[in-house]
Point group: C2
Chain length 261, copies 2
C-alpha cells in the first residue's frame, strides 16, 4: 500500500488558485460561499484548482499571498476587499504585489458616475474606481463597481451574487483545458473493505485521480468512489473494473456520470 | 483615507491556521463545512485564526503547507485525509514534515480492535492507527479511528460530524487568550455613505478591528459594521460613537452584542 496519493494529473490543463481576502471569514462571522462555486466552474472548463488560501485584511499578508500564488499557477482568483471602506485594501495590495501604481480608472469612474445619483459619488465610493496600472476591468452587472484583471490575477467582489456575475464574465476569456470526465461508483461497503483493491486500481491507472468519500444518508453508510481524468475511455473502463471489484466483495455498485453520486 | 486596513490586533492572543486537505474541495465536488466552524470555536476562546489553506492530496503540497503554517502560528488544525484509503496521506505527510517515523500506535490499534468485528480490521483499516512518533491521540467518539496532535499541529478527520467531535475534545487543552468582545452596529445607509467617518473611527481606535459588511435582506440594503477587540469598554464606547455617527448621517443604528447583527 502506497503512503502517497497519486499526484493530480494536470496534464495540459491550466492550473488555478483562489485567494479569499477578509477578516470576517477567519473570525467565523461569515461563511465563505465562493470557493466551492469557483471550484465547480473551473472544473467545468478544464482548469485545475490546485490551492486556496484565506488571509486577513492585512496588506503584507495579501501582497505575499498574491505573489506566491501568481508565480505558481496559471490563474489566480481573489474575492473580497474591493468595496468603499477602510478595510477594502485589495486593489492597493495587488498594485503593490505587481509593483505598479494604483490609478483612478476613467472607465470605472464613468460606470460609477452613471450608477450613483448626483452628489452620491463621494470620495469613499470613488476608491472603487482605483485599479492597478495596466488592469483590465471585470464587469459588475449587479452594482457596477468593477473588478479587474492584471496579469494572471482576477480580482472579484466577495458578495456572492456579485462574485458569480463577475466570474460568468471572466470564464469565456480563460483558456481552458481538456474536459475532465468523471464517474462515481457508489456502494454500501465500508471504505476499509475496498481500500486495498482501490489502491491497486489507482496503481493500474496513474493518469486518473481516484478519490474515496464515505457517506451516511437515508440511514445507510456507504462510500462514493470518484474517478476523474481527461481520457473518457479510461475513466469509464476503470469505473467498470471498480464495479466488478465491488461485486466481487459482495456489494452492489451504482455507477453515475459526474462526481455527485 | 488610508489604503491599508488596521492589522488585526492579536495582542496576547494565540494565533492559528487551518489546513484543509483534499482534492474533493478543490474540484468543487464537496463544499468545505469545517473552516467556518473551527473559526467560530477558536474565536470563542480567544484564539485568532489568521490563515487557512486548501491543498490537494499530494505529499509535497501537504508537507510544505504543514511546515509553513506550523512555523508561523501558535496552532495548526488540519482536516481530511486520515481514513483507510490510498488517498488518505495526511499522517504520513505530517510525519515527514516533522522528520519523524510513522508508527503503528498501540492505543489507536486497541481502539480499532474494539470497534471492528472479528476479521474486519484489515490492513487498510490498520493504516488508521498510523501516527507520527511522539503524537498524542485525539479522541473520535463517532467512529473510533483517532486523530492526533504532534507539536502544535492537530490532525482531524474531514467528515464534519467527526471533525466537530474531535475539536470539542481538543479545545479544553488549548491555551486561549483574552476574550474577544464584539458589537455590531447595523443601519440601512450605504457603505459608501459612512466610509469616511468609519475610517476616522478606525484611526481613533487602532486596537479595534472594524469591519464593514454590506447586506441585502427583507428587501432592504444596509451595512453591518462590526467592532471587535479585547477591551470591552473600548468596544462598547466605539459602538456608541458609531451609532452617533450614523444618526448624524440620517440613519437609524441597531446595536447588538456579537458579530451577527
Amino acid at each position: 500500500m502506497t503512503s502517497e496519493a497519486a499526484a493530480i494529473p494536470t496534464g495540459t490543463n491550466p492550473t488555478a488558485a483562489v485567494l479569499v481576502i477578509g477578516n470576517e471569514i477567519l473570525s467565523g462571522r461569515t461563511k465563505d460561499a465562493n470557493l466551492g462555486h469557483i471550484a465547480e466552474k473551473l472544473t467545468e472548463i478544464g482548469v485545475r484548482l490546485r490551492e486556496a488560501r484565506v488571509v486577513p485584511d492585512v496588506e503584507e499578508e495579501v501582497v505575499a499571498a498574491v505573489n506566491a500564488l501568481r508565480a505558481r499557477y496559471t490563474y489566480v482568483f481573489t474575492t473580497g476587499g474591493i468595496g468603499p471602506t477602510h478595510d477594502d485594501i485589495t486593489a492597493a495590495c495587488v498594485a503593490k504585489a505587481f509593483g505598479v501604481a494604483l490609478e483612478r480608472n476613467p472607465e470605472a469612474m464613468a460606470r460609477l458616475e452613471r450608477h450613483y445619483a448626483a452628489g452620491q459619488l463621494n470620495e469613499a465610493r470613488l476608491r472603487m474606481a482605483n485599479v492597478p496600472a495596466g488592469g483590465i476591468l471585470i464587469d459588475n452587472p449587479i452594482s457596477q463597481a468593477p473588478g479587474f484583471q492584471i496579469g494572471n490575477v482576477f480580482v472579484m467582489a466577495g458578495v456572492p451574487n456579485i462574485m458569480r456575475a463577475m466570474l460568468d464574465g471572466i470564464l469565456p476569456r480563460l483558456a481552458g483545458g481538456p474536459a475532465l470526465h468523471a464517474r462515481t461508483v457508489a456502494c454500501e461497503l465500508g471504505e476499509g473493505v475496498i481500500a486495498a483493491e482501490l489502491s491497486a486500481l489507482q496503481d493500474r491507472h496513474p493518469a486518473l485521480e481516484i478519490g474515496s468519500y464515505p457517506y451516511f444518508r437515508n440511514g445507510f453508510f456507504g462510500v462514493s468512489l470518484v474517478l476523474r481524468g481527461t481520457d473518457e475511455a479510461e475513466v469509464t473502463g476503470a469505473a467498470d473494473e471498480l464495479a466488478e471489484i465491488i461485486r466481487g466483495l459482495g456489494g452492489t455498485p451504482t455507477v453515475t456520470v459526474g462526481t455527485k453520486g
